[in-house]
């Protein structure tokens, strides 16, 4: 399985644009992410919600043209996590 998980101390900055009037799958069309000294514009390819214990988190799949990112967003703590990356590395 080729999706790898970044280290916990691999920091990430993120800007997200929400379109509140749209259904969930269209509410977050794209993200801007600063990771590993580079700004990246990511198109959201799939967005859904999942339960983690008693919390409901957002699971977001995104793509910048060459690399796939898997992120999670906790709307209670407002914390974003990068939990998976597929950049073709074995």
């Amino acid at each position: 399985m080729d999706v790898w998980t970044p280290d916990r101390d691999d920091p990430l900055s993120l800007a997200a644009w929400f379109v509140p009037a749209k259904p969930l799958e269209q509410r977050l069309p794209w993200l801007k992410v600063h990771w590993r000294d580079e700004w990246r514009r990511l198109q959201v390819t799939f967005h859904h919600q999942a339960d983690r214990g008693d919390r409901r988190i957002h699971c977001i799949s995104a793509y910048d043209g060459s690399t796939y990112y898997r992120l999670e967003f906790d709307p209670e703590s407002l914390v974003w996590k990068l939990i998976g990356v597929d950049d073709g590395a074995e």
Partner: protein, 412 residues
């Protein structure tokens, strides 16, 4: 009233959703598995993988032999459920009358008076566009349109992926002449062979066959088969939510092929425990127990047994499986080396309405099972369990923890 029914089927749903999420997978052979272990079972291959011979139910080593560049991914049930909800919401918004068939298939009434969709082919094209818009540009559906669910589903199967086939009511009789019996949902290899022995090879043959002869051979199912052969629905279209649960099941690919069924009994015990516990959690007892076994090269056998009374006791399920296995062995149908075991129960009843056991020992066991469920609900699964489960539970735990290191589980 004449109906126009569409069967809408998301193509290679799970694998396509993974390719939709990760564009690096698009156009590449991809498959989804249930468990991240050395030997797992393919639950959903993409069309690229299917063209290379990868099939649902195949073990991962076999799939990799057929397609070395196959990308194998762990399933993501929350994603698939979210997509399924959107899919059925969309169908309902567009058509007003939807019958759920499975997580990724449904029937829609295109002639519903409230929606006035107009031409069915135009309506079907609109469904395709909306699915791309709401689920993603990589997601496709195959749609079959016909005067009944049976015809619509058969039509949808003719062109996959991303197909659209319409069969008009007056075309049905001639069209059924061109279809083999096993193209219909619910008619598999064994039924096909039995029908062939009766001289029935096409669906039209089935529709023309003497219904009494079919009933003698297949029981009440013979009547349903006769209807299917005429392109009619055994169960009419019914708009509403998901159909009621039909059963519960669990299966496991074993870490090594086991030389005999007795040796695999520990694994069977755990599977029966999981099935019985889930069944009780949903308030059910079951009368039919089904056992399926498979060898490493994919040769499989299965049989079911109807119990005299419905049960929710795992030990009764284990005993039924043991008898099924004995029956298979007598018929020479038990694989030499067992790589996969699957247990399921069906014909469900409300467990609170079942008569209590007649004798004190039975009633004590019934109370004990309820008490154990209470403890396990509070403190976690397998906090307390019957002693016979101990070895199987240990093997499952070691198997999950070690993944690649199975020396201690190898049969002697």
């Amino acid at each position: 009233m004449a109906r126009t029914i569409a069967h809408v089927d998301l193509n290679a749903c799970f694998a396509s959703l993974e390719q939709q999420s990760n564009p690096r997978l698009r156009g590449r052979p991809t498959a989804v598995v249930r468990k991240a272990q050395r030997v797992s079972v393919i639950s959903a291959p993409s069309y690229e993988a299917k063209r290379r011979g990868v099939r649902t139910g195949m073990t991962t080593p076999e799939a990799k032999r057929r397609c070395p560049e196959l990308r194998v991914l762990l399933e993501d049930p929350t994603k698939y459920l979210a997509a399924s909800e959107r899919f059925f919401e969309l169908l309902h918004d567009l058509t007003g009358a939807v019958e759920t068939f499975s997580i990724d298939e449904g029937f829609a009434d295109l002639a519903h008076p409230l929606r006035r969709l107009g031409d069915p082919v135009w309506a079907a094209e609109r469904i395709k566009r909306e699915i791309r818009h709401r689920l993603g540009e990589w997601m496709t559906v195959s749609i079959g349109v016909g005067p009944s669910k049976v015809v619509a589903k058969l039509a949808g199967q003719q062109r996959k992926p991303d197909g659209l086939v319409r069969i008009q009511e007056d075309e049905v009789p001639n069209w059924l002449e061109t279809l083999a019996v096993d193209e219909a949902c619910g008619i598999a290899e064994r039924t096909k062979d039995r029908l062939a022995a009766m001289g029935i090879r096409t669906l039209a043959d089935l529709g023309r066959a003497d219904v009494m002869r079919l009933r003698q051979a297949f029981g009440i199912n013979g009547y349903f088969l006769h209807l299917i052969g005429q392109g009619k629905d055994p169960v009419p279209f019914q708009a509403g939510g998901a159909p009621p649960r039909q059963g519960f099941g669990h299966g496991r690919v074993l870490p090594w092929p086991w030389p005999d069924f007795a040796g695999a009994r520990d694994w069977l015990q755990v599977l029966c425990h999981m099935v019985a516990r889930r069944m009780r959690a949903h308030g059910n007892a079951a009368r039919v127990v089904h056992l399926g076994v498979e060898s490493a090269d994919g040769w499989g056998s299965s049989k079911q047994r109807c119990l005299p009374v419905a049960t929710d006791d795992e030990q009764v399920v284990v005993e039924a499986c043991r008898r099924i296995a004995e029956g298979l062995e007598r018929q020479g149908r038990l694989p030499q080396e067992i790589q996969y075991i699957g247990v399921s129960v069906s014909k469900l009843y409300d467990r609170t309405r079942q008569p209590l056991p007649l004798f004190p020992q039975g009633r004590a066991r019934h109370r004990l099972i309820d008490a154990m469920d209470t403890v396990n609900d509070r403190f976690g699964d397998l906090s307390v369990y019957f002693g016979g489960l101990h070895e199987g539970q240990r093997k499952m735990t070691v198997h999950a923890a070690n993944r690649g290191m199975y020396r201690d589980l190898q049969p002697a």
